[in-house]
């Protein structure tokens, strides 16, 4: 199981790098789909099966298809992008690297205590299954769940309105 963890982490990081450095936007989308599948694999490893399936359906399915659709629609599948100047790119990479060093340095200090009472009762492994997550979602978080449908309605109306050619 440890080797699966390392393999998925390696896959996620490498394909995330390829998203950033790939010239062609189509290749970026495909590498991003690979990253999402690796992250979904991590969810399965952590026994969050519902989120793994939702991740694949929503991200790798819907969102990435939308990205591909827009790239094809705008006819952008060429690598005609001019690069930023080398100084700006170097500054960006150094800034990201410094942030990563800061984060890792901060995380070295923390120690996360495992909740051992749940482990003893054996409930710890199935919190991510559909049955238990559905119970949590529809009992404690029912109002945010309904509010998210309003959010979707607003997003849909907004997308249609933005996409229209001329608004009277």
């Amino acid at each position: 199981m440890v080797s699966i963890f390392y393999f998925l982490s390696f896959l996620a990081v490498i394909s995330a790098f390829m998203v950033v450095i790939a010239k062609n936007p189509i290749h970026s989308v495909l590498y991003l789909i690979m990253t999402f599948f690796a992250i979904a694999g991590h969810y399965v490893l952590m026994n969050a099966q519902f989120l793994a399936v939702v991740n694949i359906i929503v991200y790798a399915g819907a969102i990435m298809v939308l990205f591909l659709f827009v790239i094809m629609l705008l006819n952008l599948n060429t690598d005609a992008e001019q690069n930023k100047s080398i100084l700006i790119r170097l500054t960006g990479i150094v800034a990201g690297g410094i942030l990563m060093i800061t984060l890792i340095g901060a995380f070295k200090q923390v120690s996360i205590v495992k909740d051992t009472t749940f482990y003893a009762s054996g409930q710890a492994y199935d919190i991510g299954l559909v049955k238990n997550l559905g119970n949590t979602l529809f009992k404690e978080f029912l109002v945010p769940f309904e509010l998210s449908s309003i959010l979707f309605l607003a997003a849909m109306v907004g997308a249609v309105m933005l996409g229209k050619k001329d608004i009277k």
């Binding site: 995330a16 950033v20 827009v70 790239i71 710890a124 919190i127 991510g128 949590t136 997003a155």
Partner: protein, 110 residues
């Protein structure tokens, strides 16, 4: 699952997930900073969102708390809405200025 079955949370220390998520997040930040194609910038933002989702699921399974996974679900909902509106904005920008280079979009810059 019965007791005694070893899961990933017992083998892998949580700091590994912290490091993996911060790596993915920083790659996303570098992508936002160094690319000029607005769609690739948008994809890097998605990458950062996913890194934070991964960390939240990791904390949820290490702490055995289902509420965090529901929160990740809501975060995915918001990301889907954001992508729909954002891509509509990108299409509108392309229709107006015939370019998706963020260099052309610096009118609001001071």
């Amino acid at each position: 699952m019965e007791n005694g079955i070893s899961t990933i949370t017992q083998i892998i220390p949580p700091n590994f997930y912290l490091i993996l998520s911060s790596l993915l997040f920083c790659i996303g930040i570098i992508g936002v900073l160094i690319r000029r194609n607005i769609i690739v910038v948008f994809m890097s933002i998605e990458l950062m969102l996913n890194a934070s989702n991964l960390l939240m699921v990791a904390f949820s399974s290490y702490r055995s708390d289902g509420a965090a996974q529901v929160f990740v679900f809501f975060s995915m909902v918001v990301a889907a809405a954001e992508v729909a509106v954002g891509l509509a904005i990108i299409v509108m920008i392309y229709r107006n200025i015939h370019s998706i280079d963020i260099k052309e979009l610096s009118k609001l810059k001071w």
